[in-house]
Amino acid sequence: MSKLLSTMKHLYVVLVAFILVAPFAFIFYRAVTYRTYLGVEFTGLKFFYELTPQYWSSLLNSIIIGITVALLDFFLAFPVAYALARYRFPLKRIIGAIFVVPMFTPDVVAGIGLMGVYIRYYGLYGSWLGTILGLASTSYPIMLLPLFASLKTLDPDYENVAKTLGASPLRVFGSVLIPLLAPAIFSGFVLTFVWCINNYLLPLFLTGGAIDLLAVKLYSDVRWWGLLGRVAAEASILQLATFLAVLLYIKMAGKRLLVGLAI
């Protein structure tokens, strides 16, 4: 009985691990193979050489936007996380919920709304600034949650001691809070970066194709040329960039891997 249960358990874990990992792994496989009527043929890096220089410049654009948005997210999220974790004020729950709500807004809805105001009032349509500000609006709660979770477990005495010893608020922020919160800041940074470079829907609405971003290009290629090996190669490069960021994250976060990921 217990042997059967143990076998079932292992089968189940292997099944779930397969479900989670297979779609990602299969894209890599697709990028290095070619299917003919005679069978599957290994093509090596052939499809990667087919990528145009425009593709690489769009990868660079994506990375620049991702880093900028992650930085902006930090400055948007940190004060809120600090206020929610350290101070008390009425309606705190509702105010907290309001600050997290953009994360749950479907990208399509945020896209339509931002597109409307960008075109009619802000004049940001198709601009870099508009894309960065728009992406930050849906991604800063991803930074907020790990920061809040870490601040909550951090003893306020560290800050109080620093204050008592005469440190200015800026000094407390720079020399006490930032080093102590480094893992949370870093994990928030990686998550928002990953979220941004893979987001295709918001830039699709906000830029109208004026800025070359890899995720948008990938989306349209997947839609129209989905069966080509070149598209799989494109996807695997963006995926590789994402995985590298996550690997860094796992390395840095260590045991605190999943702190604050769930709301």
Binding site: Y12, A17, F26, Y87, I95, F104, S137, I250
Partner: protein, 281 residues
């Protein structure tokens, strides 16, 4: 702290203010804008010569798009149900470290943050001829059309996409349960499976429900999954229709009305998650 009464600490408002301004400009104003747009005709609002047609867009939605709405809700709900069945045992095994590969599986929980592009593209390629299931197709005399381009494919895609969220929410609830509960239950003669079903599940039920609702909410926003896996026949869900109506047909009024409906459903589900998990407290 001083006493149990709520009081405002001055600095807290100062800290919230910049982000609040940003939130108003880039979330509340756009959402209110969608609301206004939903009462205008076609692309007139975007072009700046607004022509108001009242609630006509909503009438069109409830007469012509009720199938779209019910499809969206059904697919998301069924996918969340699959997540529930697959995810809860995994969360338990992960938290109690009863299996190998814990690190890999925990790292895999970040996958939803990658967006739905890889899950949909990967699954699509796996099911197409030349994918992983070729031997299965020839063995059972099926074709890929039995698996792709139908509602089941969309539901499967959604389930794969949000499974990590289910595991995340549930594992944070399970990790708060003292191990002694399980030990007592085992000592008193309950087999492990019954212990899981009758001790762990009831004790972590709030996390499980929160995970279920969160998965449902995330599924509602999935776009490329129904588009690729559902094909032409089964991609009749709200996100796909909104993109089609706005970017392709330029009927922004109708798209806005549909967006408002989608937003309301998502907000209700995220509010429930928020209430149940007691987040940010």
């Amino acid at each position: 702290m001083k006493n149990g009464r709520d009081y405002v600490e001055g600095l807290s408002l100062l800290l919230l203010l910049p982000t609040l301004c940003y939130l108003v400009l880039f979330w509340f104003v756009p959402v209110f804008n969608i609301f206004l747009m939903s009462f205008t005709e076609g692309d007139t609002y975007i072009l700046g010569k607004t022509s108001i047609i009242g609630a006509d867009n909503y009438k069109v939605i409830f007469s012509d798009y009720h199938e779209t709405i019910s499809n969206t809700v059904t697919y998301s709900f069924l996918a969340a149900l699959i997540d529930l069945i697959l995810g809860v045992p995994l969360a338990y095994l992960l938290v109690r470290k009863k299996i190998a590969m814990t690190t890999i599986l925990r790292a895999a929980l970040i996958f939803p943050y990658f967006g739905d592009i890889y899950v949909s593209y990967g699954l699509w390629n796996m099911f197409l001829p030349g994918g992983l299931f070729d031997p299965l197709y020839s063995l059972m005399g099926l074709s890929y059309k039995n698996f792709l381009y139908n509602p089941q494919a969309v539901i499967l895609g959604f389930a794969v996409f949000t499974l990590p969220f289910m595991v995340l929410y549930t594992s944070s609830a399970i990790s708060q349960i003292d191990t002694s509960y399980e030990e007592v239950s085992m000592t008193l003669g309950y087999p492990p499976l019954l212990t899981f079903l009758r001790v762990i599940v009831p004790l972590s039920i709030s996390g499980i429900i929160a995970g279920f609702i969160a998965c449902f909410g995330w599924n509602l926003g999935g776009f490329l999954i129904p588009l690729l896996l559902g094909g032409v026949e089964s991609s009749n869900v709200m996100t796909v229709k909104i993109v089609e109506l706005s970017l392709r047909i330029h009927n922004y009024g109708l798209a806005a009305a549909l967006s408002i409906l989608l937003l309301i459903i998502t907000l209700i589900s995220s509010y429930l998650t928020f209430r149940i998990t007691k987040a940010l407290e």
